[in-house]
Symmetry: C4
């Protein structure tokens, strides 16, 4: 435990990283959605291709930019899973860390939508009106979030955290398309996307259903990790989770 605090940046700096990182992630998702909608007005498929391509690149870069500071969670269910899966080995976030992370992610997510609106000369403060609710969409969010959590912690448990940026970005690039919900897979991003009535927006009334599905998906994903990599606990001391660490431990060497 004392070793951990030695290697991990102080909480304040990590919260700054989570706040700005989650904010920019929402800026990428919402901003590229606005650009796609304006430039390809008659082709929804092309809009989503432009939106998903920009998100793949943006998410990968943000993980590299903020990862060495905070682990680049940008996602409350990832922070919670980090705590849950790392409890026994003492390698995950503490409960207090998780609370701070989630607050920073939510505030950042909202600010990121406002920034995207402002850049595109739209009213900075607005509420989305796009309803997203159906059994299929909720199933999509369950699958999307389960896969995301499984990928992140499978890499962490097998000493491949240095591949997280490319792999998580690639996963989202696939999940935009193979799930029916375009893979929000993130409660903080879901909340942020409530604040832009554009391509990527989600009506506040639809958000609780999405978040509930994401929580179920996160549980399934964590379960899959335990089935696939049950005894990787002792590797935890080296490189466990994307939050574990100083640059020299999570950086690609």
């Amino acid at each position: 435990m004392s070793g951990r605090s030695t290697h991990r940046p102080e909480l304040g700096r990590r919260l700054v990283a989570e706040l700005i990182g989650t904010g920019l992630l929402v800026t990428v998702v919402v901003g590229s959605g606005i650009a796609a909608q304006r430039l390809s007005p008659h082709e929804t498929g092309l809009q989503l291709l432009e939106n998903s391509t920009a998100t793949v690149f943006g998410l990968g870069v943000l993980i590299l930019l903020f990862g060495p500071v905070s682990g680049a969670h940008f996602n409350p269910v990832v922070s919670a899973a980090d705590w849950a899966l790392g409890r026994h080995a003492g390698t995950g976030l503490t409960g207090r860390d998780v609370a701070g992370y989630v607050a920073a992610q939510l505030i950042g997510g909202i600010a990121g939508a406002v920034l995207a609106n402002a850049m595109f000369d739209l009213a900075p403060l607005q509420i989305a009106t796009t309803t997203r609710a159906s059994t299929g969409l909720w199933l999509g969010e369950i699958v999307a979030t389960a896969g995301l959590v499984a990928v992140i912690f499978a890499l962490a448990r097998t000493g491949r955290a240095s591949l997280s940026a490319a792999t998580v970005a690639g996963y989202i690039g696939a999940a935009y398309w193979f799930t029916s919900s375009t893979s929000f897979a993130n409660p903080a991003v879901t909340v942020g996307r409530m604040f832009s009535d554009t391509f990527a927006g989600i009506a506040p009334a639809s958000a609780p259903g999405f978040v509930l599905a994401q929580l179920i998906g996160a549980l399934l994903g964590a379960g899959l990790v335990l089935v696939l990599y049950p005894d990787a606990g002792h590797a935890a001391g080296a490189v466990v989770t994307p939050s574990a660490g100083s640059p020299s431990r999570t950086g690609v060497t």
Copy 2:
């Protein structure tokens, strides 16, 4: 030999990985095909670009997610080639392993199509009606499968299994386009795609021709590996095939 069983996860866990992994691969292919068909209804080329892009990302991620457990074959001809090419050095799957892998892949492939149908609010159980049969298409499948098998085992025989995820995914991204058949190249995925009457579907009557072509292609691909890398057998003890191993051996280090 004894050393092999020491490093490889128990068979049950490997079969779970092959079942879920093949399932999700079919979910990616079929699901992104449905999304593409709905969002770009008037442009078949754009549909295939969306479908192939999602598959590149999804396949690469699935190999990283399941590779350290089962080798991430997701494909009966890859499992069979693993047995055939690794027999002499004692490094491949056993015959019994292959039987289990193929069964898991077939069950997973069907389940993956059902999941895709359900996510998109379609009837979960359905049979494809798209006929895919011509000399050119069969030649396409032969070429597609030969290339896939050659790529996988060329990497394995030259100690570059850590590049498998990106390379195999990239190969499929090319083969979707340069072959006439959009590169099924996988009997389990072919069977799974019989169960969704959507963009990626294949009528059951067309499946045997595709599978036969895939078997011929796999033989050609294995032959090409033996021509290009004939004496790589002694390297087999280190990192032979994508199935060889524990995380520390197949993981990217």
Copy 3:
């Protein structure tokens, strides 16, 4: 200091690298813009997707091609930030180096536009007429440049300069879409793009606003680096900035 001059190529060769590299970067941006405009005349979104995809690939390759010689800045604000952030540790460019770099970048940028015009059988010398001016666009340039500077120096300060090519290219691929300004983020490229009245052009009257926004963004980006990675100074001796070095230090190993 003496150690630095030992490892770094002589200034003349570095200036050649910056001149040709910045030139080819503008050729990539402008040339692919012309091709996109001609081949996809009715779809602005598709034009930008073609333009941004080509730029991602081209920029990544140019960084790998010229990086070991000059650091592959291709951008006056990157060279200036390299000087500012490396002053204390004595690892950045000198003030005289920066002056040479900026001159080479500006000359190269203009020459690159002329080459693109000539390749596409257009008048080699021409002045763009596309007005790009609004609060949103300037905010876009601030965000774009802040992110670019933060990414470059975050990698440098954490010993991950070998990831610069892929990461910087990916960043631009996202920023083309998530910013409102399509992310010029570079005064030399902005000047170069004044010399082609095509897809990527910018009217000279709009350039000062963009450059001013880029300078503000660079300051913000450097500030973010100092917040996220404040005490990475002592790592500077090893691999500090993309300009630091001989092939063996910045090359991917």
Copy 4:
């Protein structure tokens, strides 16, 4: 010299690799061009995007598949530059090797076009009728080939040959768009593309102009390498050119 022959596979096997590799490269270019033309009949830009995306993936994979055997030149000007730039250090191909490589590349290139035609149920033997001739196009080929040669040998001279697959593929992905000629940049591929009267075809009467421009470009590219990396000769003994070697030397480790 004796050391070289020890590490390099025998010439026959290398020629098989060059023949099949160049063949499959032309199959990728021509085949994906046919698919693009059929599936996106009304959008030339989208056709080229599909064609270039497939080529990026296919070329990268082919370099990884055949590189450890022959160096994966697939291109007469690359083989010639390998000889010219490696003469002094004794690390390049011999003159006799070059003759064999070029013959294998030309035969393979033609066979690859025939295979693509056959897969798409077209007449296997056909001659292209697309005229490609103008000052701008020739300038495009000069730039395209200069960049290609510079990239390949810059990586080789700085010990980064393991990045060749991704970098060369990415370069072509950019050059398809930023040059006016869509970057043939390869005499063997140019000859192969004479044999398919489809999207990627070139009329035989236009081929000599393209090949001449490619030769000029190769000279310029080699010159740029000598300017940027003049004294990298002594590194040649380790990892010089993509043709240098056994798997353990050119493989990604």
